[in-house]
């Protein structure tokens, strides 16, 4: 029977568990020296190690260890004084060794937490997500399924394998079970993944691009009757590739579980795949039997025992926690809630802060990035960060406006020029011959010309109907090709027509 979300939460309490896989942004792979660059030609970034040729051996990337420890520290984890890699044995064609080097009972980081804040009906509320473990492992290759429907594994005739991604370092962040989120479970999960993304970005350890798969979330959901101490059976949803999907997937699973339970059926413990188009999950093709991964310590790698001094050095390098930073910036810049949320959503906080640090007024910086530049990015279907305009450019433009050398309208042309690759703002101004007409004589000539042409309108203004001046100002601006300062034009025009200017 179809249930509404309200029906579900009236009867059940959701229990969450989240596993997030993060691709680290190291130059080379986890266990070999192949490049990790995204999007290379197939099988151009492989070697005996990541192809699992007979005889090849793994060697751990030091940077990956450092990044993992940084992540652990940022998530308030304990760092294990001694940890090991283990082999997780299972056969799959995208995994060249047919075992994954991972960590099993001795992860590098454990016992941490992340606090997230969400808006509730009772105002902002904080939730603590406890972290069970942070461990290192390696990514698999990519399969391309040929034949059958649109690249799906089902019905494919054969598959083509590219191992460029095989062996890229992954960090898996696993939460403890998260109870007590009630109806806010989907929002809390989304806020957690967003916070995690911000923390990782702040650490500069990953590109954290969900759409490219450098951050992937598996969501475990189970329901229990409100008041019951017994945990329900959980499903594990994979393929959740955006923040919005995290929310949708959990909501969808909660409803699906509740419908099964209400019908007296059992929830199957299984892996489900989230489908972006429908917002629903489908059952993974189940294996004949539960996998037995036969973990054992990786004999080709020796234990990792980070020195306490190294850990403390890394701790000292930790950047400001994103949530605290947001609070600080909001206060420093006096940003209204709505605008703050818009900046966070548009992902421009870093870039605005950089612009401010280069001397720009915070409000002006924010307005440029959120306004004109966002609009142009949308038009070109690019991320703001991928445009060729820098915080320095924006700071320069704001300075030029403040100095009266550009009007807002002219500045928009400069922004466009910078994004079009015409150079920095000064170069664009020079090349396009953009300059503010602040020669009063030239302006007066234009004003007289316009007043003569539109004498009826001019008379209205003379008779005290000030709003009619707008049309005349527009015409003057047009006459001066937009290079005039509109405020000055208004001042001169009203004076010319015998009206006070204030």
């Amino acid at each position: 029977m179809a249930l509404s979300y309200d029906d579900v939460i009236a009867k059940y309490e959701p229990v969450l568990g989240l596993e997030v896989h993060v691709e680290l942004n190291t130059e080379s792979k986890m266990f070999c020296s192949c490049s990790t660059t995204f999007g290379g030609e197939p099988n151009t970034q492989t070697c005996p190690v990541c192809l699992a040729l007979p005889g090849a051996l793994p060697v751990v990337n030091a940077k990956a260890i450092e990044s993992s420890i940084l992540i652990g520290l940022a998530l308030n984890c304990k760092i294990a004084p001694y940890s090991r890699f283990s082999r997780k044995n299972y056969f799959y064609p995208d995994m060249p060794k047919n075992f994954q080097i991972s960590q099993y009972d001795e992860p590098i980081c454990f016992d941490g937490y992340v606090d997230v804040e969400i808006e509730t009906e009772e105002g902002p509320k904080q939730f603590r997500i406890e972290i069970e473990r942070v461990h290192m492992e390696e990514d698999t290759g990519k399969s391309l399924h040929v034949g059958g429907a649109t690249g799906r594994i089902h019905g494919a005739e054969y598959s083509l394998l590219d191992y460029n991604r095989a062996g890229i370092p992954l960090v898996e962040i696993v939460t403890k079970i998260v109870p007590g989120t009630g109806k806010y479970a989907p929002e809390v999960a989304k806020a957690y993944v967003a916070e995690l993304r911000d923390i990782l970005r702040g650490l500069k350890v990953s590109d954290v691009k969900m759409e490219q798969g450098s951050l992937r979330c598996d969501a475990n959901v189970s329901l229990r009757l409100i008041g019951s101490g017994v945990l329900g059976t959980r499903s594990e949803t994979k393929n959740v590739n955006s923040l919005r999907s995290v929310e949708r997937a959990i909501r969808g699973e909660m409803i699906r579980h509740a419908e099964l339970l209400n019908d007296g059926q059992k929830v199957k413990q299984e892996t489900r795949h989230f489908q972006e188009e429908t917002g629903l999950t489908r059952s993974g093709r189940s294996k004949e039997q539960a996998e037995d991964y036969r973990y054992f310590p990786e004999p080709d790698l020796v234990p990792v025992a980070p020195a306490a001094t190294w850990i403390e050095e890394l701790r000292a390098q930790l950047p400001e926690r994103p949530s605290l930073r947001r609070k600080r910036l909001k206060e420093q810049w006096a940003v209204p809630d709505k605008e703050m949320a818009a900046m966070i959503n548009a992902d421009v906080l870093d870039i605005v802060e950089e612009t401010v640090l280069l001397g720009s007024d915070p409000t002006k910086a924010r307005t440029w990035w959120l306004g004109e530049i966002s609009r142009l990015a949308n038009e070109k279907d690019l991320a703001i960060a991928d445009l060729s305009i820098t915080p320095k450019d924006v700071a320069d433009i704001v300075a030029l406006i403040a100095a009266g050398e550009l009007t807002d309208k002219l500045a928009r042309q400069v922004v466009e020029g910078v994004i079009a690759g015409e150079g920095n703002p000064a170069e664009v101004v020079a090349k396009r011959g953009i300059k503010v007409v602040n020669d009063d004589g030239a302006l007066m000539a234009a004003i007289e010309k316009v007043c003569a042409e539109q004498s009826e309108t001019a008379d209205k203004v003379r008779n005290g109907h000030i709003p009619a001046a707008g049309a005349l100002i527009g015409a003057v601006m047009k006459e001066t090709k937009g290079q005039a300062d509109a405020a000055r034009v208004r001042e001169l025009l009203l004076g010319h027509l015998g009206q006070a200017t204030n």
């Binding site: 197939p42 099988n43 070697c47 751990v60 994954q100 698999t140 399969s143 399924h145 394998l161 795949h273």
Partner: protein, 99 residues
């Protein structure tokens, strides 16, 4: 006396991805009793409090620097491939879903 049944061996063979013939399964099951008896001797001692040794040398923290070195050429990478297409390894249809 330890033993493994024919079905036990079949289960293990499946985990190990080896398609054994019925004869092989039965044969191996019959041999396993004496092999398991021999190796089960490791359980004769009281091993409480004994540390496990997984690495014969006491090495720790062996890392490489995060530096990119040349990869194999795609030709070299694919040189042993039983089948290939579009610079990729071609494999028969995959039944199970990825992890």
């Amino acid at each position: 006396m330890s033993s493994l049944s024919r079905d036990d061996v079949a289960k293990l063979a499946n985990l190990a991805r080896i398609e054994m013939t019925e004869d092989e399964l039965v044969n191996l099951a019959s041999q396993f009793g004496s092999i398991l008896d021999a190796v089960a001797r490791v359980q004769e001692l009281n091993l409480d409090g004994v540390k496990a040794t997984s690495h014969p040398q006491p090495l720790e923290n062996i890392f490489r620097q995060d530096v990119v070195l040349p990869s194999l050429s795609p030709d070299q990478a694919l040189s042993g491939a039983p089948a290939q297409e579009d610079q990729r390894f071609r494999v028969p249809q995959i039944l199970g879903e990825a992890e």
